[in-house]
């Protein structure tokens, strides 16, 4: 960033409308008060009634009773997708690229879902509705014909936007469950690194906000990969290859993580970083305690909320999508608790505002 870096001056010319719109959308995100009301609901019909008084409005009005959680899930997702597609369709130049980057993560998820499903002999027609609509692309459905990663790349993904991320995981190996996890993580690593570098290249407030968020995302993946790898056949060298090399842990933390053998040693690595120490402190699975995953989510939400404090940057779009997603998870969690009459854990959602 030079002294005469005026990138922000022209921001509103191309992106002002969409930024304003996104901030408006963000104001519609449910607040603590709303959640308090939602958790008091006795049935999904009550939930629907309360959601009517929020910005969700009549989004469930055309659903015949009785409501199911699946229907709510679909409609919530649909709303996010409609909003996102609107943003994407009106986006211009860099913002379009940025929004596409957001979409790539859903594409990765969809590909992995399809491959796993095919391995388990599921029908394509059964799998497709489960794919996230944001991650749908033309060649996606044909993923099922691939038998090896090389196949997957050469025949299908080479045309898709995911091709550049895939270069690292081409091998002639057959696709099996472990391999798929490795592919997913390698893809994600490549994706995160590319996204991070792109944001850094943008400079200005975008770099400031997004590098922080994406860096955290990278670190979170490294932690989770390490913890999940205990007790599997994944070797330490292979594991180290999966860590996204961005964020605060890179490079020292990652080297240490690569040597970790158990949860305690992971925790010791986290001790070196103030932000992460807080997250590892006091986690557990008992009632009243929060899981590490929830703590990570909470931290993510805070970061995303903070991203709205900065003006003239693309971070708001990313944060909005993530916050909406978290909101969907919350509403679904509450709906599930209501539907299954399992109220003791109903408060375990992650409030946003």
């Amino acid at each position: 960033m030079g002294l005469f870096d005026f990138a922000e001056v022209g921001f509103n010319v191309d992106n002002g409308f969409l930024e304003g719109l996104t901030r408006g959308f963000k104001n519609g995100v449910l607040c603590k008060e709303d959640y308090r009301h939602l958790t008091q609901c006795d049935s999904l019909e009550d939930l629907k009634l309360h959601l009517q008084s929020t910005t969700y409005g009549n989004f469930l009005a055309n659903e015949p009773s009785p409501l199911t959680v699946a229907v709510i899930d679909d409609r919530l997702r649909e709303k996010l997708v409609v909003e996102f597609q609107f943003l994407r369709n009106h986006a211009y130049k860099e913002l379009a690229t940025f929004l596409d980057f957001i979409k790539y993560s859903y594409m990765i998820d969809n590909i992995i879902l399809l491959i796993t499903g095919t391995l388990r002999q599921r029908q394509l027609s059964e799998l497709l509705p489960k794919c996230h609509p944001l991650g749908i692309f033309d060649q996606m459905e044909t993923v099922t014909i691939a038998n090896s990663t090389a196949d997957l790349y050469n025949a299908i993904l080479v045309d898709s936007p995911l091709a550049p991320f895939f270069k690292d995981c081409i091998s002639e190996e057959d696709l099996d469950e472990v391999n798929i996890e490795v592919i997913r993580n390698t893809l994600y690593k490549a994706y995160l690194e590319a996204f991070y570098d792109w944001c850094e290249g943008c400079g200005g407030a975008t770099a400031e906000v997004m590098c922080e968020i994406l860096g955290f995302e990278a670190d979170r993946r490294s932690f989770i990969i390490t913890i999940n790898s205990f007790g599997t056949e994944l070797s330490k060298e292979d594991r180290a290859k999966l860590y996204p090399r961005r964020g605060k842990l890179y490079p020292d933390g990652l080297t240490e993580l690569a040597r970790a053998d158990d949860y305690e040693s992971v925790k010791r690595v986290a001790e070196h970083y103030t932000e992460y120490r807080k997250l590892f402190d006091g986690t557990g699975v008992g009632i009243g305690e929060k899981t590490l995953e929830d703590k990570f989510f909470e931290h993510e939400v805070t970061m995303n909320v903070n991203s709205f404090m900065q003006q003239f940057q693309y971070g708001v779009f990313y944060s909005f999508v993530k916050l909406r997603e978290q909101e969907c998870r919350n509403v679904i969690w509450i709906s599930e608790c209501i539907a299954q009459r399992h109220r003791s854990k109903i408060d375990s959602y992650i409030p946003i505002f």
Partner: protein, 844 residues
Amino acid sequence: MGSLFRSEQMCLAQLYLQSEAAFACVSKLGELGLVSFTDLNPNVNAFQRKFVNDVRRCDEMERKLRFLERELKKDQIGVYDNGDNPPAPAPREMIELEAKFEKLENDMKEINTNQEALKKNFLELTEMKQILMKAQHFFEEMDRFDTTEDEALIDPNTPQTVAAAGKLGFVAGVILRSKLPSFERVLWRACRGNVFLRHAEIEMALEDPVTGDVVNKSVFIIFFQGDQLRNRVQKICEGFMTSLYPVPEMPPEGLHNLEMNVTSKIQDLQLVLNQTEDHRHLVLTQVALNIRVWFIKVRKIKAIYHTLNLFNVNIAEKCLIAQCWCPTNDLGKIQDALRYGTEVSGSSVASILQQVTTEEQPPTYNRTNMFTESFQGIIDAFGVSTYQEVNPAPFTIITFPFLFAVMFGDFGHGLLMLVFGLVLVIREKFYLAQKSADSEIWDMIFGGRYMILFMGFFSMYTGFLYNECFSRSFNVFGSSWNVSAMNFDAVTLGNASALDLDPVTPGVYRGYPDNYINGSGYPYPYGMDPIWQSAENKITFQNSYKMKSSIVLGFAQMLFGLTLALYNHIYFKDRLSIICEWIPQMIFIWCIVGYLCVIILFKWITWKDPASAPSLLIGLINMFMFTAPSKADGTFLYTGQSTVQIFVVLMIVFCLPWMLLAKPAVIYYRRRQKANRSQRNYNLAGGEMADDVPIIEQDQLDVESNSIQQTEPDPDEKDFSEIMILQIIHTIEFSLNCISHTASYLRLWALSLAHSELSEVLWTMVMHIGLSMAPPAGPIVTYAVFWFFAVLTVGILLVMEGLSAFLHALRLHWVEFQSKFYKGQGYAFLPFSFESIIQGRVDE
């Protein structure tokens, strides 16, 4: 005028409704649309209220109706509208309605599934037919290709090629046209180029059976070799959601027969499809007849239950307690409605309406009709008037179009506008019945039709005064200037492009009574003398005239606004404000602007000699500098001017502290006294509590009122420093505004100048060209140029200039006029009315 001058008197009332009569009563009140209910359970969640289940049932019914409406739209069947407004059905009828809708929805769904299945079948057959048609074509081509190739490549050494080609397998199907390119590419890559794809577009658009959308598709046929490739190809086809059809390998004639077969099947299916279509249409036409009425009924029920949810439920007494604002004048009507509701429901106990006294500020309710609506609208757009303060709307009806017209003054343009307004007003019923509500701009123009009518009328009036019609003048009464009296000789007349007319020369200007020649002279009787139209110094003359008249008009309007403030003070019995604010304000504005207006008028009326006319501007500046007026610098107007002016300036200076300090001082003094008094009372009560009963009561009352004041701080009881600051702001604002607002009224002159200049430019640059040409070209060019002139006149002068004059008139009313008296801190009365709910003007 009564209710338009001040907003309706409102009262807070409590209704005690028997639970069985509540529905009928609320329904009747909804038809009446005169009460606005307040929420008595603001702390209760939406889903914890009493009638939430009924609301839900209504939601469900609405959903079904919406479903039916969608189906109607899909088939493009118009909804029958006979303008009926059915009353809300009784709760027990709801079950009937529910059952009816349920049945209709199920019927409709069944028909839809049947139709969908049939359509799917139909689509498949059509696609099959297309494939067969194209396949024949492909095969024929292949054959031709083969034979030509055979001839060229026949080589006894390679018999395998022919044999291998014979074993080619193929798959035929249909794919969405948009997916074809990526399909082709994936196919190529996945099979490493070992397949051969042919495709052809299906010319006719096909209908998607599920969504009913029209889609374009292509037929493709893929040739390949071997089973492994077949698997791959099939998987890819599946991935791209293509539909594959088995095409038997047979000679073209066989395919042709098959095609015929399929065609006849399609025809059969078409018959069945038509029948289902007819059935569906029948059901839907029945729905179309009633759906509007059903919608209204359901919405009414829903609105009633929503309202009932606002009520307080008293379980012990089996009654609902409601609280509402209503106009005091209409209490009788409301009582009637309640009585009627009770009767209808057969309840034995009457519903009771009881007025409640409250400290709360009532809502503002101005009854409007079609005519006053738009004028009230521009007032409300600025701010809803405080309860019962003077409503500027009735005055706006005249002043708004007038000020607009001052800026827009042109007889011709005004006439066009008047005609447009007239058309809207005369055909009002027709447009209202159309209620096409699709365009916001149209709604706005139509809503302001009476305003447009008036603006047009007033523009004609001012246009007549300015003597301008499309920038030309009429010589109605005969100009009072006489050129021949100047006795110019032929040479002067021949050479000069412009000549001076000297009004002092006898006989040239016949305006002065003492200059009459043979008593025949008179000034131009009404409006502007047409001779100015051709004068070189027209603009200079008109500027000075319009500028001054703007100030006079502005002062008149501000003075009027200030007078209305007096009405407010008297009505609210605010004597303090009259003495300490209103009187000094009145003196101030008279001294500072009023004096200017007086000397303007004085100069107009008395000055005859153009050569020695005084300069008002310099005179005004000198006045504030205490420089004595003198004939030398042209500031002398009348004898004794110096004394009067010194007095005026001193008055201005004197008013300032009066406005600033008097009111806070009185308030301060009163508060001190009050504090002393209550202190004394308290002491008194403490001393004589033992035997003097009445005093105790008095004291208790006092204490009570004190405690009330402490718990609920009176809005008027502000902190003293706050009062002082507000007073300072008010004083500064008022005194500065007297000057800035007067200057602001100069926009009247500026815009009218702009308008007349623009229209003159348009005339001389466009219309004049055609008119100045000699025949035969003249008439033709005039005709061509006229359209150009007409379009520009309407587009620029009427629409754009009209909008800008409108905007400025709006500002003059909102800021310059209303700031003198209008607080606009009320909130609007939104009655619970079925009419507005059904028209969708109110959210639930």
